[in-house]
């Protein structure tokens, strides 16, 4: 709705450039097409993740009875979603991440009293509360390169916006970073060097509201990488292999949906129009396939970008 000029980043976090080690586990290039995978039978999807081979998508949404539900679908266009888990203990699932082996799905749920982190086998089974402590209102999730630790965005018990790490088995979370300049962190990606890439809806950066921050493994700083990113809820971000490009679902200043690719080194942004989408949100790449899962929270649909 505004007329900002997308400006090249002049304060690129040089210390972080290229810190995502080259890896075969991620797509090497930003997506060039967006295709609807599934819609119908659910509303208000939040986050979506892909199986390591990219052939199956999992997403959090609400079923036709408005019950919180985890769905599974083939990532092929025109697929039908099936229910993996629904209702209690799920309340408000908002963030997902896949285990490295693709056998377990982890769920950040903002409901209940202070939120919870759950797990569920990807081939079906019970939803388990990991009894993670120390994180209030968990939102975004990412899996560390060691495949043993998750990073989670949320709030501290005293209300500060924060980034945490927690073992995949659950238990006590460790605080990585808290406070300014974070305001409302959601989407999260962690690269092979442990740098967390955090989307924040309400932080105001050099070029406007909606900021991508980079937080090194030691939590020593939160550095603005790009701003004026009009993201949905939750924000989504994935980096391509090598960490050179951040892929983020956004809307342009006229409100049109797009997939924005941010060159981490230069701050240069490129947009891929997604005219079929209304409000693109949570985005995640497959670990070993060149496909991104993207949700359209307003239209109630799941898309693949590749």
């Amino acid at each position: 709705m505004a007329k900002r000029v997308l400006m090249a980043l002049t304060t690129a976090p040089l210390a972080l450039v290229g810190c995502g080690s080259p890896s075969e586990d991620l797509p090497t290039e930003p997506p060039t097409s967006v295709t609807k995978v599934t819609s119908g039978g659910f509303t208000s999807p939040t986050d979506a993740v892909a199986s390591p081979d990219g052939k199956t998508f999992y997403f959090a949404a609400y079923d036709d009875l408005k019950e919180p539900t985890i769905f599974r679908t083939s990532s092929a266009p025109g697929s039908a979603a099936e229910v993996l888990a629904t209702s209690e203990p799920l309340q408000a699932p908002i963030g997902l991440v896949m285990s490295c082996d693709g056998k377990t799905l982890y769920i950040a749920d903002m409901g209940n009293e202070i939120g919870a982190v759950f797990s569920i086998p990807t081939d079906g089974g019970a939803v388990t509360d990991l009894l993670v402590t120390g994180i209030v209102r968990p939102a975004g999730m990412a899996m560390d390169a060691d495949c043993k630790t998750m990073h989670v965005t949320g709030r501290t018990e005293d209300g500060r916006p924060a980034l945490f790490s927690t073992p995949i088995e659950g238990g006590a979370a460790s605080l990585v970073y808290a406070g300014d300049p974070l305001v409302s962190p959601t989407g999260l990606h962690i690269d092979n060097d442990g740098v967390s890439w955090v989307m924040d809806h309400l932080a105001h950066g050099a070029n406007g509201e909606g900021v991508l921050f980079a937080i090194p493994k030691d939590g020593s700083a939160a550095t603005e990488v790009a701003s004026d990113l009009r993201m949905g809820t939750p924000g989504g971000v994935s980096l391509t292999a090598g960490g050179g490009t951040a892929v983020i679902p956004t809307r342009d200043h006229e409100g049109a949906a797009q997939i924005t690719s941010v060159n981490i080194a230069t701050g240069e942004m490129q947009q891929l129009a997604a005219p079929d989408m209304l409000d693109p949100a949570g985005l995640r790449t497959a670990r070993k396939a060149g496909v991104f899962a993207v949700v359209d929270s307003e239209a109630g649909a799941i898309y693949r970008a590749e």
Partner: protein, 420 residues
Amino acid sequence: MKKLVPTIAGLTIAAGASITVMASSHREAPAIAEDQFVDNTDVYSFISPTNPDRLVIVADYVPLLLPQSGPNFYRFSDEARYEVHIDNDGDAKEDITYRWTFENHLKNDKTFLYNTGAVDSLDSPNLNVTQTYNLDRINENTGKKTRILSNAPVAPWNVGKRSFPNYETVALQAVKSASGVTSFAGPRDEPFFVDLHVFDLLGVGGAPTTDGVNVMSIVLEVPIADIAKGGIQPSSGDTSKSSVVGIYASALRPQIRILRRHHDEDDFGNMIQVSRLGWPLINEVIIPLGDKDKYNRSAPKDDVSNFGAYILDPEVPKLLNLVLGAGCPATPMGGRTDIVGLLSPNGTAAADLLRINITKGQTNAQSHFPNGRALADDVTDTLLTVACNNGGPIGDGVNANDKPFTTTMPYLASPASGNP
């Protein structure tokens, strides 16, 4: 503006025309009617009566407030954003946004009282429940955000004479200035005057139904150069698109709210516009029920594509004819382009923006709707007359506010007391 005579229907007629009335934008759409604290009711703008180089903008929210509404008196939502947007180049897209965000404070949570004794200043320890706000200016073209005021006080509710022996003295302490900008936020007397019996099948009779109720007001006074295109006030006689600014106010809430059994609720995510207003009465009586919520969520730049048909062929004249036999002529071929013209002065893009001439030499006396909107403007009469277009004025019989307005910040009258 009219000579009123009674009719057998209990209505009044002005120069042969029937009469009706509406509330500007109070509870005007289904969704916002359930979210009172972010319901934008009116926007006013006029050249400062004391300094023609400055523009005053008033954005009112939270409609129809009973003064005796304790113990939890009205305030602004601390989870919302209240914004005033300014288009200074005529394309119906905001170039500058002023944003107020509020924070609640409680000194003593062991009492139910708003104040624990008489209050003689905003710093009084007896004032138990308070709000503060931050005011930011956002350049929408560059994304730059500038903090103008931090932790500025909101004027308290006018609880009653025992609590506030000199209420207005305390309230005026909430007028704050910084960087050449003056701001006020707090309760004021509802400036809009109307007979709300209109919604009983146009059953108006000149009853001043908004007398004695309050509203939550945000008042901004800025140097005109601060909001003009390129930072320079246009010269006298300039008739370009940038000789006027277009103004609308809005309120936004986070996209997600989660209620909890044992903890405070959480508001979370992207900010979504839930209310907006430029001209009075557009969403009230031009936009039909099926699109009212859409109007509140949408942007002025899209008004023509979204709602242009309702402007070109408004329902109001037909209703006036049907119920009151007002003699409004049929919509002409091509529609009501005269109304569209009023919404697009000096070649600006047609949109629901309150536009006002900001060229040098403009005075407060020239700031009358639709060139801005003065607090005392009887916009109901103006718009009904324009909508019917039967050659005669149409009015509602309520022609002025019950309290006089002032010539200094915050310009609106002191709010009605909860215990006068």
